[in-house]
Structures are given as C-alpha cells and as structure tokens.
C-alpha cells in the first residue's frame, strides 16, 4: 500500500479542470438566455446576459492564474503538462464564446421594438442556438471523458450549424426591399454568425481533447482544410 505522492497537486489539477469545464455551463446558460431574448425581444434579459459575462471573464482569469501558478511551482510533465496547455486553450475558447453571446445581446435592442420581421429566420436561428448548445454539452463530456471519438463527432455536429448559417444567409438575401426589414435581417445574420463562431470554438475544444490524449495537435477541420 503505497503512500500517495503529490496528492495535493493532483487534486488541485482536477479542481482546475472541473472549474474550467464549468465555464462551459456558464456559457450554456448565457446562450440559453440569449436565445430567449432573441425569441421574445427581451431587452432586459439581454442586458442581464451582458452584465453576467463578468462571471465568465472572472472564471477565465481565476483558473488561468491558478494554472500558471501550477506550472511555476509543480514542474508538470507529460500528460499533466498537456492537460494544462489544453485547459489554457479551452479557457480562451470559453471566454470567446461568452463574448459572442454578449455581441448578440448587445444587438437585440437594435432589432427594434416591433415584432421580428421573419418568423422563419428566427426559427432558424433558434435551431442553430439549440444545436450549438448540444455541441457545448458534447464538448464538455468529450473533454472530461477524454473521448477522442466524441470530440471528432463535434465536427459533424458543427456542420449542421454551419449549414443553418448558410440558410440564414440565403434567407436574408431574399428578404425583400423594405429598409427596415433589411436592417433587421442584417442584424439577424450577425447574430447567426456569432452563434456559428460559438460552434467553431466548441470544435476547437474537441481538438484539445485529442491533444491531451495523443500529444498530437491536428486541426479536425479548418477554414483551410474543409472536410476534416
């Protein structure tokens, strides 16, 4: 029965991983509220999301600092080192995802106090959002389970989001001549684009899973390498 070595270090590392992945829960909540704000043109809810982004940023700073401290004091190597590197990337992804939600929410008052102009577009965006939320959950599970296959599947899931984004674009093109409607459509496109970026960040998290497990860093799918 051997005495456990470096137990404090390992516990700390586990705690930091949980804390980082918990950031994805925060992003998921933010995205949920953002979608609701879009659906009901809820300006107050949108402002709440913007204010709440401080929590995501706070999480980022706190865990980032703790990881740097761990690097300085514990000289991690091998899997531990790869994990810390991956977590630093993941934190950045989470922070960016939070910012995308904020970007969307900042636009919501601009879509005017009238009801949305195009039901279908709104439906598309809400579907994109829902799908993206699935991506978030899957990315989180893939990371904590070190499941490379699940991580790779994120690409496929993200393709759905990408396709919906293209649909939105097509719809916007056909929205008609009305200036107000056109302005509204551009705003919605930007929102769709932001959601699509959230999806890409989730795929990036999947790539980090592969790095932790294999030590290799390869893009699953990239703007320059379509198809995965």
């Amino acid at each position: 029965m051997a005495v456990e070595t470096r137990s404090q270090y390992r516990e700390e590392l586990e705690r930091l991983e949980a804390s980082a992945l918990g950031g994805l829960d925060l992003v998921d909540a933010a995205l949920g509220r953002t979608l609701e704000a879009i659906e009901h043109t809820d300006v107050e809810l949108a402002q709440l999301v913007v204010a709440d982004d401080d929590r995501i940023d706070g999480r980022y700073l706190e865990v980032h600092q703790a990881l740097i401290t761990l690097l300085a004091t514990q000289s991690p190597v091998a899997t531990d080192l790869r994990l810390i590197s991956a977590l630093l990337h993941v934190l950045k992804n989470i922070e960016r995802m939070g910012d995308q939600c904020v970007n969307i929410c900042k636009m919501i008052p601009l879509s005017g106090n009238e009801p949305p102009a195009d039901e279908e577009m709104v439906r598309l965006i809400l579907t994109m959002g829902k799908q993206t939320r699935t991506l978030l959950t899957q990315a989180q599970r893939a990371f904590s389970g070190r499941d490379v296959e699940m991580a790779r599947d994120l690409v496929r899931q993200d393709d759905v989001v990408d396709n919906l984004n293209r649909e939105c674009f097509r719809l916007a093109l056909e929205i008609g001549d009305d200036a107000d409607r056109r302005e509204w459509a551009m705003t919605m496109l930007l929102a769709a684009r932001a959601i699509e970026r959230i999806g890409d960040n989730a795929v990036d998290i999947g790539e980090q899973v592969a790095y932790v497990v294999t030590g290799l860093f390869r893009e699953f799918e990239d703007a320059s390498h379509p198809g995965g």
């Binding site: 051997a2 070595t5 470096r6 270090y9 000289s75 991690p76 190597v77 091998a78 899997t79 531990d80 080192l81 790869r82 294999t214 030590g215």
Partner: protein
C-alpha cells in the same frame, strides 16, 4: 605527440594511454601481442560510440541489472533516470568496469566502445578506465595534492614530460570552466576550493586523460543550485569532446541537460527516447507514472 610504435603498442604491459585509446578506437584487433600491424589511429569526432548488449550485473546472487541492450549516441548527453534501487548506478559502473571492484560483484554481457568489447578477456582494465572517465556524487579531490597535481594525477604515470602534463592540465581546466578561477592558485591544496569548484576540479581531472566517454554519477546532488547550474552549462559544452552519460535523481536536470533519456525500473530498461518526448508524450505508462511523480 607520440608516434605510434607498433611493437610497443601491442604489448600487454601498461602502455601509453593515448596509444591505448587509439588502439581501441582503431580496431577490434585486441590489445594482445599480435604479429599483425595495428590499424592507423583515428581521432575524429565519431569516436566515443558506446553500446550495451545483454548487460547483466550481479551482487553475489542478486541480479541488479537484468539484461540491457542500449546504444549511446556519440557526443550526446544521455541521462539515466529511475527510482532508487533501479540499477542505474550499477549499470553505469559496469561501463568503466568499476562494478567488479566490489567484493562478490560481477557482470556479464558486452560493453562495446567503438565496436570493441571492454569485457573481452584480453583487455587491459586500467586502459578501460582511461578511455571511460568517471565523476562521482561527492567531489573527491585528493587531499594531499595541489590543484595542479590533482588534475595531472591521471597523467603522471604515463611518462609524459612536465611541460606536456602542464599543458594538458591547462586544457582540462579550461574545458572544465575552472581555469580562470584557479590559474593563480595552481599550487594551493585541491581541498581548499568550494564544493562546486571541487567538482569541476574532479571533472578536469577526468578530462585530462582525454577519455572518449565521461560517466557522471549524480554529479550535482551534493552541490548548491548555482554550482549545479554551472556544471549543467559545462555539460552542454563538454559533449562536443566526449560522450556523456549522466545518472540523476533530478528529473528537471535530466530534462535540461540530456539529449536522450533512459528510464530504468527494477534493473530493466523501460523506455529510451529523445528527452522532449519522454517528458511530453512518453510511450510507456510506467514512464508516465514516474515522471509525473505518481511513484518514485
């Protein structure tokens, strides 16, 4: 310096160490009396290739090293890491045949230096130690000798002239990064230097006989951090002259100085590979466990 005299060089008596190393470097042709011409000496940078084949080491009936096959790249630094009692010091001491000095200890297998098996029965064991030098954990300069005499201790018995010896000593001290600090106190006692300086003195002493391989058995464990770093710098320079094998308990040190790292466990070789690979993506799970501190 000395001309190769065929008949002298092939005699069994204690020959000039330079000729001896050249002999070993030159050919598998043994150091026994032979009628054939010894091959021409070569002293190029590839000299210093070491390889262990089926090396086993015993303390009485206890097998401490259980069959190791391991090549060492010439002019590289190879670190041997592993938990206490894994056999790393024992293995290294087999390379310069110091292991068999211990009562009841013996070794089997082959240790090939440039293709020549150092355990061949015709080999002069004293000459082996000239070709393979060693630096120990605790600095051990000879207390009755001055700095200069310490460095030339290995040379004084070769019949070289005083001037030649002093020259070699100076080169060795420069090579060990100690010349500037001691050039004005060459006659002062060797033990009067600080710990780090004493260890560099021991390195100079080992270098003076111009070995091909330098074995270092935890050379920094008795030194303070600054002295340790100085010696690590030195190792990086020295590898151009000699092949270095360093045993260390300190994994960060292995990571800093070594090109290749070897992980041993219970007398066996578990994994060998480029240092950065062993410390970022080791193949063997046991290596992973050891370097991340899960045991040791």
């Amino acid at each position: 310096m000395h001309n190769q005299n065929p008949t002298e060089a092939t005699a069994m008596t204690e020959p000039n160490p330079e000729q001896q190393s050249r002999q070993e470097a030159g050919a598998p042709a043994p150091l026994a009396a032979a009628a054939e011409q010894p091959p021409a000496p070569r002293r190029d940078r590839d000299v210093g290739e070491l390889e262990l084949r089926g090396l086993r080491a015993f303390y009485g009936g206890n097998e401490a090293v259980k069959g190791i096959d391991l090549p060492f790249k010439a002019n590289d630094v190879t670190a041997i890491i592993g938990p206490s009692g894994c056999g790393k010091s024992t293995m290294v001491r087999c390379i310069n045949r110091m292991h068999e000095e211990i009562a009841g200890a013996r070794a089997e297998g082959e240790v090939l230096l440039d293709g020549l098996d150092l355990y061949d029965s015709r080999i002069d064991i004293v000459a082996v130690r000239r070709a393979v030098g060693m630096v120990f954990q605790k600095p051990n300069p000879f207390p009755t000798m001055s700095v200069l005499d310490n460095v030339t201790a290995g040379l004084r018995l070769t019949g070289a002239s005083r001037g030649e010896m002093d020259d070699r000593a100076r080169q060795a001290l420069v090579g060990a990064g100690l010349w500037e600090e001691v050039k004005n106190r060459l006659k002062s006692p060797g033990v009067g230097l600080s710990g780090g300086q004493q260890q560099r003195l021991c390195i100079a002493r080992a270098l003076a006989v111009e070995p091909e391989v330098l074995l270092m058995d935890e050379p920094c464990s008795a030194l303070d951090p600054v002295a340790t770093l100085k010696i690590e710098e030195l190792i990086a320079e020295l590898k151009q002259r000699v092949t270095i094998v360093i045993v260390t308990h300190n994994m960060q040190q292995a990571a800093r100085v070594a090109d290749t790292t070897v992980f041993m466990l219970d007398g066996e070789l578990v994994e060998v590979g480029p240092t950065e690979k062993l410390f970022t993506t080791p193949d063997d799970d046991r290596t992973e466990q050891y370097v991340t501190g899960k045991f040791g």
